[in-house]
Point group: C2
Chain length 189, copies 2
């Protein structure tokens, strides 16, 4: 089986000057693709505990900055499976919706519970098949995610910016639940 | 409280000549609004029995005949509540989706079970606030539904067509489950 497997590196930005990262990316010919503000609402299942089964159900409301476009997506994530050293995969199914409030209400009627919601600003940079995302999670801090098929690219970025980055293994959901610091300031209109 | 309450009459068409109904409607100045083919897929909840709680969860895929438009909707229906003599209401929340297969897969991953699916052709007629729907439910037969705020209109239509109509209290879901005759012939492409 020669499936396409994405590798992902995720880091907390620990230096004060976050411009270091954007300068570095521009120097390496990364191009800013777009900016978004995303609100994520996570739900728990009416009769099983997603924190035990390692599943997730999320409504994401995304606004594209400067474009006035808005997109709402319902996402199911299955439990993480280790495919190989450092490579994890999880089933992910996404469906686009025309109204997040109605989907939220359907989920509540079905017995799903809202667990947490938080907002982040994202800047997405790309260079060929490498995607770098700079996240500002409100209340939690700044993070960088690197996605590519080539693990050495992730390692190079990390070693070039090592004084600025600290590896993170947890999802934002897990970090927000742990710290209870995440904020949900979002203009729903 | 002076809420807008729709009254609905539902009848099985028992005469062989279904043109009687369309002639009658045209004579009474009803206008054909549009024709659709709908596939409905019903689900049961992972940990409660919707047939006991009188709830419903449905994906409906609707094709507008002759227009090439397609619409997919997820609908939750709460249990029926009797508001007054002959007037029932149930909460109904609808959200539009861009992909029914993905929503179906999310529901299956969440433990929902597919109960039944069936297809019907609908012709929707209207005259002011009165909506008359002529349904051909594949495998089950032909039905007519009248929706309006004015109960006497429903009674008039029924008495004018009484040799052709037989009142029905059950939903198509209930009739399909009971008879197991409904068919699901639908071009999903």
């Amino acid at each position: 089986m020669n499936e396409y497997v994405e590798v992902e590196g995720k880091y907390r930005v620990i230096c004060d000057d976050i411009n270091k990262i954007s300068y570095f990316l521009k120097e390496k010919d990364f191009r800013e693709e777009y900016r978004v503000v995303e609100k994520d609402i996570y739900y728990n299942h009416p009769c099983r505990d997603f924190s035990r089964t390692d599943e997730a159900l999320r409504i994401r409301i995304r606004k594209y900055i400067g474009q006035g476009i808005r997109k709402t997506v319902l996402t199911y994530k299955g439990s993480r499976k280790v495919l190989g050293e450092g490579v994890k995969a999880r089933e992910e199914i996404e469906v686009e919706l025309n109204n997040w409030r109605k989907m939220n209400n359907i989920l509540l009627c079905l017995g799903f519970q809202r667990v947490i919601s938080f907002v982040k600003e994202r800047i997405i940079y790309r260079k060929r098949d490498v995607e770098v995302t700079l996240d500002h999670v409100y209340g939690l801090g700044r993070f960088i995610e690197v996605e590519t098929r080539n693990r050495s690219i992730i390692e190079n970025i990390y070693s070039s910016l090592s004084e600025c980055l600290e590896p993170v293994n947890k999802t934002y959901l897990e970090l927000c639940l742990e710290t209870q610091k995440c904020r949900d300031d979002f203009d729903d209109s």
